[in-house]
């Protein structure tokens, strides 16, 4: 642990530095590959939608020692048309899913199950979804997503700057694509709980991005006036300075989500908890990646296109200061970008050289 803290210190001072921004083409290509894979998976396999989206009925019988075959035979005897999916959940539950049924057909299934397995009708957990229901919630989820992206973009543009808002949204859309792609590829069930998890992740991925951008903003505030480092270099230092924080926040966020996933998938079998936490888990991982590897480099790309920043880059290059920030900080006596530039009278020279 203290090793990690020590690393945090070195990253902060720039003594140790990873070139996140400079290697952006590498990260972009990795993400591009993933996004292409996702689009491919979506086009070829599509999403595995739960009955909430397709319409259908689901019956869960709680009784130990019942077999899938018995359940299937029982429902088939009740004269239910269409495909019947029977799953075993845990040791003592069987779940039967059918297409959309009328209330009479549904009653027939229930009574068939009660007689076959000798259970009371109250102990069967049922869920009936009308055929038009799915369209309704899909529409709502889409509206929610669009409204979310617009509002967040506006908010971030006000809280930070427009280009940061654009970069953050690009990172979020990147997360959406890859998470959806993973769902299509692996064939996880998509239920409304998945969609909730998903929308939450958008918020969470932004949380990480906000933490990084806040530091980027601080470091780059007077970058043009000082003229010692380029925008990219200052931004890269910010990413390095916040990486321990990002790792920590992501890990801390993953711990509770992981325990929901563990309990939901391990103890309950299937249902809201599992669907929700799986989406959160995947989304968090992707979101952490994008807040470090996608959002800041994209922001730097946007800002470096500005004439002022290009002029700055030229100036810095002219001075021969275009090496990595880490090098320039480590070299004694050379002025370096410091997070506290212009922030008060405390300029004790500090020795950087640990090891």
């Amino acid at each position: 642990m203290s090793k990690l803290s020590g690393l945090g210190g070195r990253l902060y001072s720039g003594e140790t530095s990873f070139d996140f921004i400079g290697n952006r083409r590498r990260w972009y290509s990795i993400s591009a590959v993933f996004i292409l894979l996702s689009i491919g998976a979506l086009a070829i396999q599509g999403l595995h939608l739960g009955i909430e989206f397709k319409g259908g009925s689901s019956y869960t019988v709680n009784k130990s020692g019942i077999s899938i075959e018995q359940a299937r035979a029982s429902v088939a005897d009740a004269g239910i048309p269409g495909e019947i999916i029977v799953q075993k959940i845990g040791n003592d539950k069987v779940r039967i899913q059918t297409g959309a049924l009328t209330s009479e057909q549904s009653k027939a299934v229930e009574s068939a199950l009660t007689t076959t397995f000798d259970v009371t009708i109250e102990s069967i957990d049922t869920q009936l979804i009308g055929p038009s229901w799915g369209k309704e919630i899909t529409k709502k989820a889409l509206y929610g997503l669009i409204a979310f992206l617009l509002v967040i973009m506006l908010f971030l543009a006000m809280a930070f700057e427009p280009k940061m808002a654009i970069s953050a949204i690009v990172a979020v859309i990147h997360d959406v694509f890859i998470t959806v792609g993973i769902y299509a590829l692996v064939g996880f069930d998509v239920t409304p709980a998945t969609v909730i998890g998903f929308l939450t992740i958008l918020g969470y991925s932004l949380y990480d991005t906000v933490v990084v951008f806040d530091k980027v903003r601080e470091n780059t505030k007077s970058v043009a006036a000082v003229g010692k480092v380029t925008y990219s270099q200052a931004a890269n230092l910010a990413v390095n300075q916040t990486i321990v924080r990002s790792a920590n926040t992501s890990l801390i966020a993953l711990l509770p989500v992981g325990s929901i996933l563990f309990v939901g998938a391990g103890l309950l079998g299937a249902g809201t908890l599992k669907d929700l936490s799986l989406a959160l888990f995947i989304g968090l991982a992707v979101g952490t990646y994008s807040s470090i590897f996608i959002a800041p480099p994209f922001l730097a790309s946007l800002r470096e296109k500005e004439p002022a920043m290009q002029a700055l880059a030229k100036r810095v290059a002219g001075r021969g200061g275009a090496e990595a920030v880490s090098a320039s900080v480590a070299a004694p006596g050379r002025p370096a970008i410091r997070p506290s530039v212009g922030r008060g009278p405390r300029n004790q020279p500090k020795r950087k050289g640990r090891k």
Partner: protein, 510 residues
């Protein structure tokens, strides 16, 4: 707030924040006592019950989906559900405009009756019976086809003969029967089929209906009903005309949603507007019929969007699983923060405890005051929020460390670190809050519970960071254990990555 790096805020100010926090906690506690709220209201998925979501459907031109119509339907369904006498049943409309849905939740095992009851959604009508026979198809057997009553077209007659009420598909109420037409219809159980004349009395003309029983004739249940002025006239005319006719023409069918609920024989003309339906009713049948008569007329037809029935066993399982996941998640976060932040980790633990207490008390108070119920999705939202809350502390602590690395004394590092962390925390929590609010407005059912707890806990997180975490850290910064950078404090020079000599050199400046 004060200017960035000059003043170190006085501990008195921190003390004041803590006092405000204590007052609020105490206030909430007192409120729960006054309200008598002792446990969090659990959603149906955690204690068992039935929830039905109905989507309005415009079945014909007469009923358009309007906000008023949906509100009216909610009132009627609520009366129907309440008539079942199940405590804590709820009927609410969600969404807006044509997208409004009605959500009915009934706890416990009685949900199945509710599903049947609210399923009867279309308008109630009284029609004269023109023909009646057993509910099987008689198309092949023309000899038994009922003698056509006067005014019944051959087309209707053929339809009637072919109708097979034993087929479930023919017993789905449509609500599309036009009041002015002569129709063929099944009884609800499918045992009989009818040809029915045009509607003469409508459900909204029934002003009261009750179930009762006559002790003199043993326990025979009957339903008495009263018509309003218009209804009295129409029903009087109808009964006066049919009572002298031969069976089955002297029967009046009560038709709901295109199906015959009951077809009592009219023994005499009833001009008074007060009628009694007798028969071999059980108590439940009589009460259900009374309810149908009383609350029968819904202004809209509905599709069942979603019906969810959760047994109490599954409910208890889900509650336990949710709580287990919560404790597990909380435990892991606590262990991690203690390992990583040492002494500062204790602040995290304390802050989480305060946040937990606040959230729990708010659940209690909101449960009583606005009917907030905790669902499984809500528990998941609260657990996810543990992460969000802990993140705020991390942002704060890492900022303090950053400032300490700059060579500040702990006290000034806390203050200047806070000023920077505050901005990050505010923006990040605002993003979470926006997500929660939008989720709440664009979602139905369980999703709303999730969004609500997520939003609530985010607000609590903000509050705790400002009124507990920050003041506590300020106070601790004055304590030697932390200020001197003790190895276990989490602020030792080693753990933030610099040499101890530097700290002692730079603390002089403060």
């Amino acid at each position: 707030m004060s200017t960035p790096n000059k003043t170190v805020k006085s501990p008195a100010r921190s003390g004041r924040s803590l006092v405000i926090l204590a007052v609020i906690l105490l206030g909430l506690l007192v409120t729960t006592f006054i309200q008598g709220a002792s446990s969090v209201r659990l959603g149906l998925d955690l204690r068992g019950g039935t929830s039905v979501t109905l989507q309005p459907r415009a079945s014909n031109d007469a009923n358009k989906i309007t906000t008023e119509a949906v509100d009216q339907a909610v009132t009627i369904i609520r009366q129907r559900v309440n008539s079942l006498g199940v405590a804590e049943s709820e009927v609410t409309a969600q969404g807006s405009g044509t997208n409004r849905q009605i959500v009915i939740s009934v706890p416990g095992d009685s949900g199945r009756r509710v599903v049947d009851l609210v399923g009867q959604t279309a308008e109630l009508r009284f029609r004269q019976v023109l023909a009646e026979s057993a509910g099987i198809s008689t198309a092949a057997d023309t000899s038994t086809a009922a003698t056509p009553a006067a005014g019944v077209s051959a087309e209707i007659n053929a339809k009637y003969a072919a109708l097979d009420c034993t087929n479930a598909a023919n017993r789905e109420g449509t609500g599309a029967d036009s009041p002015a037409d002569t129709i063929v219809s099944c009884s609800r159980e499918g045992a009989a089929k009818y040809i029915l004349g045009p509607a003469e009395v409508l459900g909204r003309q029934v002003s009261a209906a009750t179930a009762g029983f006559n002790p003199q004739q043993g326990v025979t249940w009957f339903v008495s009903l009263t018509f309003d002025g218009e209804g009295t006239k129409a029903f009087g005319a109808l009964t006066n005309r049919v009572t002298t006719l031969a069976s089955p023409l002297n029967q009046v069918a009560i038709v709901l949603d295109g199906l015959v609920v009951s077809a009592p024989r009219i023994n005499e003309a009833i001009p008074s507007g007060n009628a009694q339906i007798t028969g071999s009713f059980s108590q439940v049948e009589a009460q259900d019929l009374a309810n149908v008569l009383k609350y029968g007329a819904l202004p809209l037809a509905f599709d069942r969007g979603e019906v969810q029935q959760v047994s109490p066993t599954l409910g208890a399982d889900q509650l336990n699983a949710g709580l287990l996941a919560g404790f597990l998640g909380l435990g892991l976060v606590v262990i991690y923060s203690l390992l990583y932040y040492r002494g500062l980790g204790l602040v995290t633990v304390g802050s989480l405890a305060v946040a937990g207490a606040l959230v729990y008390l708010l659940f209690l108070v909101l449960g009583k005051s606005i009917g907030f119920t905790l669902t499984l999705a809500g528990i998941a939202g609260a657990i996810v929020a543990i992460g969000v809350t802990a993140d705020s502390f991390i942002v704060f602590f890492e900022r303090i460390r950053d400032e300490a690395r700059e060579g500040r004394s702990l006290r000034s590092a806390v203050e200047s670190g806070w000023l920077k962390a505050r901005h990050t925390i505010l923006v990040a929590d605002a993003v979470s809050l926006i997500a929660a609010v939008l989720l709440y407005f664009f979602a139905v059912g369980g999703v709303r519970g999730f969004a609500f707890t997520l939003g609530l806990t985010t607000l609590v997180d903000l509050f705790v960071v400002f009124f507990f975490t920050k003041p506590i850290v300020t106070i601790l910064a004055g304590v030697n254990f932390f200020a001197s950078g003790h190895p276990l404090s989490g602020l030792s020079p080693k753990s933030i990555g610099m040499k101890s000599t530097q700290v002692s050199a730079t603390t002089l400046e403060a």
